[in-house]
């Protein structure tokens, strides 16, 4: 029987994968051909979605991007045999350079397996890490994670092993001692979708990673805090947790070891700030997502006041490999203090947007050009924002910076979670700076003044710069903006207010032409200025 793969993935479905699957099933049925359609995860080659693959003796042959209307012609030209004459044929999937040139550790299975099939997961090294962890002491698991050099993949890059050690060493103060593993799946940053890909393409890897974390620190309850914007990931995760529990990988007696770990998905409610770990914990407790002052660290006083590991999806997803292959195998990738691989996400105005997992150390321009293929619009790229809406805008002169936490930091940028959003020459950086402030207005939790009020004043000051009709007023407002950025950076309680100045200042520093448009400076009265007075 012919086996076809059509992703059940948000991006693929957003581009018509369901219609493609339905039409293929219908057309082949009419021709009386037996067909098995597997709804796999996405390979992460987003620009080729929906990517249809057919299994052949040589390996899987890919076609994409396939529209439902292409199907009759594709079938006529031997899609089911893997014939390669149709222009949409991409040859063997594994040979597509975009995929072949990656170093996939975390995403090794993505798109290959049926996300919900435990058999598929086991056939591709699944649960090897968990079996290994069950043989080890808690301290030995933590030591393995320390040896890997893994740092938090959510953006802050804090060493995961040290966080785990803190929770392992912390004593629960509850009447019935309890510690928690919380997975931060509130992937709110624009330009990031790697967490979603993990959850939709390989959910058992996350489950396995969380279970190992539980064994490592002595936690028996885990929560995945998932954003409400990911309805498909919610369905897939819940189904996977159900199946994993039935198969004995979760529950009261993990694989007959007598060890316990329970897992539950909790859905957020559209608040960006809940991606900040202490706000997330408040939200999990059923409260407004107000940021907590630190210390105490969540590792010591976390969820419901108990010691809690809060890790990003990709941090936890890296754990099964580290346990299965050893921390050193992971640490062998990377450069400097950035060990292992990072899942770069190419987004925005790029011809070939998608997921690129690479060891740290490549350059941004390699990603933009060799993988991304330059702009989608055909116009020159002008600005690239790395690390989400709180990351800096980088001009072309910085695109040779090695992809490494410290190297980015040295040029005043943020590597963060590796989300990369490219803009072509039409971008107005003054508007992007304004948007950064406006976003902070919309999403600030409101607890601290520099973030809550500072962002509102930031929008106003930028509006006055836009409206300025004489150079003095413009200069004064730019000074004021800079001052405001200082206050937000130094006085905010968390990264929301503290990092909002990153996009604003980098836009000012590297794209100052957009802030000094002579066309603004006509002889008319200074409307914005008067309003202010």
């Amino acid at each position: 029987m012919v086996k076809l793969y059509i992703p059940r993935d948000t991006s693929a479905i957003a581009l018509g994968a369901d219609q493609v699957a339905q039409r293929l099933a219908r057309e082949t049925e009419q021709h009386g051909e037996a067909l098995e359609i597997v709804r796999n995860g996405s390979r992460g080659l987003c620009w080729l979605e929906p990517l249809v693959e057919v299994e052949t003796a040589q390996g899987r042959v890919a076609y994409g991007p396939v529209a439902s209307a292409d199907i009759p012609a594709l079938l006529d030209e031997g899609l089911l045999r893997g014939d390669r004459t149709h222009p949409l044929c991409l040859g063997l999937t594994a040979e597509i350079p975009y995929l072949k040139n990656q170093q996939r550790l975390t995403f090794a299975r993505a798109g290959i397996t049926d996300p919900l099939s435990i058999d598929d997961y086991l056939a591709h090294d699944g649960f090897k890490g968990l079996r290994k962890a069950l043989q080890l002491s808690a301290q030995a698991i933590v030591d393995e994670v320390k040896a890997s050099g893994l740092r938090g993949r959510g953006g802050a890059a804090f060493p995961a092993g040290i966080k785990w050690q803190t929770v392992l060493d912390a004593r629960s103060t509850a009447a019935e001692p309890q510690k928690y593993i919380v997975c931060n799946a509130d992937e709110g940053d624009s330009g990031t979708f790697a967490d979603r890909l993990v959850m939709e393409a390989d959910p058992y890897m996350l489950i396995e990673g969380m279970c190992i974390a539980g064994l490592a620190v002595g936690a028996t309850q885990g929560y995945i805090y998932l954003r409400s914007e990911y309805p498909l990931a919610e369905r897939i995760l819940n189904e996977a947790i159900e199946r994993a529990t039935q198969a004995g990988y979760l529950g009261d007696d993990i694989l007959g070891s007598g060890r316990r770990f329970h897992l539950e998905v909790r859905v957020g409610a559209g608040a960006y700030i809940c991606g900040e770990e202490t706000s997330l914990l408040e939200s999990l407790e059923g409260k407004r997502g107000l940021v907590r002052a630190k210390p105490p660290l969540p590792a010591i006083v976390g969820l419901f006041g108990q010691p809690t590991v809060v890790n990003n999806v990709l941090t936890l997803a890296a754990i099964p490999f580290i346990l299965a292959e050893g921390g050193q195998a992971y640490a062998d990738y990377g450069m400097g203090r950035s060990r292992g691989t990072l899942a770069f996400q190419l987004a925005g105005n790029l011809q070939r947007g998608g997921l690129v997992e690479l060891a740290f150390g490549a350059s941004l321009s390699e990603l933009l050009n060799e993988f991304g293929g330059g702009s989608a619009s055909g116009r020159p790229l002008r600005a690239v924002q790395v690390g989400g809406p709180l990351g800096a805008y980088m001009p072309q002169s910085q695109w040779d910076t090695p992809l490494d936490y410290e190297a980015f930091s040295a040029v005043g940028a943020v590597l963060g979670h590796g989300g990369i959003v490219a803009f072509d020459e039409r971008v107005d950086m003054l508007q992007q700076a304004r948007f950064a402030m406006a976003f902070c207005v919309a999403e600030s939790c409101g607890k601290c003044t520099p973030c809550r009020i500072g962002s509102t004043r930031g929008v106003e000051v930028i509006d006055r710069i836009i409206a300025a009709t004489d150079e003095t007023s413009q200069r004064n407002n730019l000074i004021l903006l800079n001052d405001l950025c200082d206050t937000m950076e130094q006085g905010s309680l968390c990264a929301m207010g503290g990092m909002t100045p990153n996009p604003v200042r980098s836009a000012l520093r590297h794209f100052s032409d957009d802030f000094h448009r002579q066309s603004n400076l006509s002889a008319s009265p200074a409307a914005g200025e008067k309003e202010y007075a």
Partner: protein, 167 residues
């Protein structure tokens, strides 16, 4: 305040009873109520306050904190347009202007015929294939103004047909 039937109040009470013992129960309860009725009627607040032993102000404070929760009934279709940077780089700023004029409403509004509610989203996770729109539970990628019109017209036609038959 919109009318809430006794049956709806019973469903709300049922949801509260079923979930109130879960740790951090309020968000799951709010999700269930909104999932069931499309919004959280203000009449549900005292019921939750009693069930969870919290003040009405606390419950209301939580509802108002989160963009996702609404206290008025939505239109038949809920639209969200992604306003975040990756979609901006692909034309989302033009799309949101277009969408608002096409529907004749701004963000956080529902059209007069109750057909559409429009809201902004800051990232729907389809960042490589924007601009992105969410229609109810479906995410749609590469939505330019023409595609947006097509999607809206399809939905409008869906509801127009039965009326025509009645005529």
């Amino acid at each position: 305040m919109s009318h809430v039937s006794d049956q709806d109040l019973d469903s709300i009470q049922g949801i509260i009873e079923q979930h109130k013992m879960r740790p951090g129960a309020l968000l799951p309860i709010l999700h269930k109520i909104q999932g069931c009725l499309g919004y959280i009627p203000l009449q549900a607040i005292p019921l939750m306050a009693i069930g969870l032993q919290q003040s009405r102000a606390e419950i209301r404070g939580v509802i108002s904190f989160y963009h996702h929760f609404r206290t008025t009934p939505p239109g038949r279709h809920q639209l969200q347009i992604c306003r975040a940077e990756a979609c901006q780089a692909r034309g989302a700023r033009e799309l949101e202007q277009h969408a608002q004029s096409k529907l004749g409403i701004s963000y956080h509004q529902t059209s007069a015929d109750q057909a559409f509610s429009l809201d902004a989203a800051y990232c729907l996770g389809n960042c490589a294939c924007g601009p992105t729109v969410r229609i109810d539970n479906d995410i749609v990628g590469r939505v330019d103004p023409a595609r947006f019109d097509q999607l809206i017209d399809q939905l409008a036609a869906l509801h127009a047909e039965p009326t025509q038959e009645l005529n």
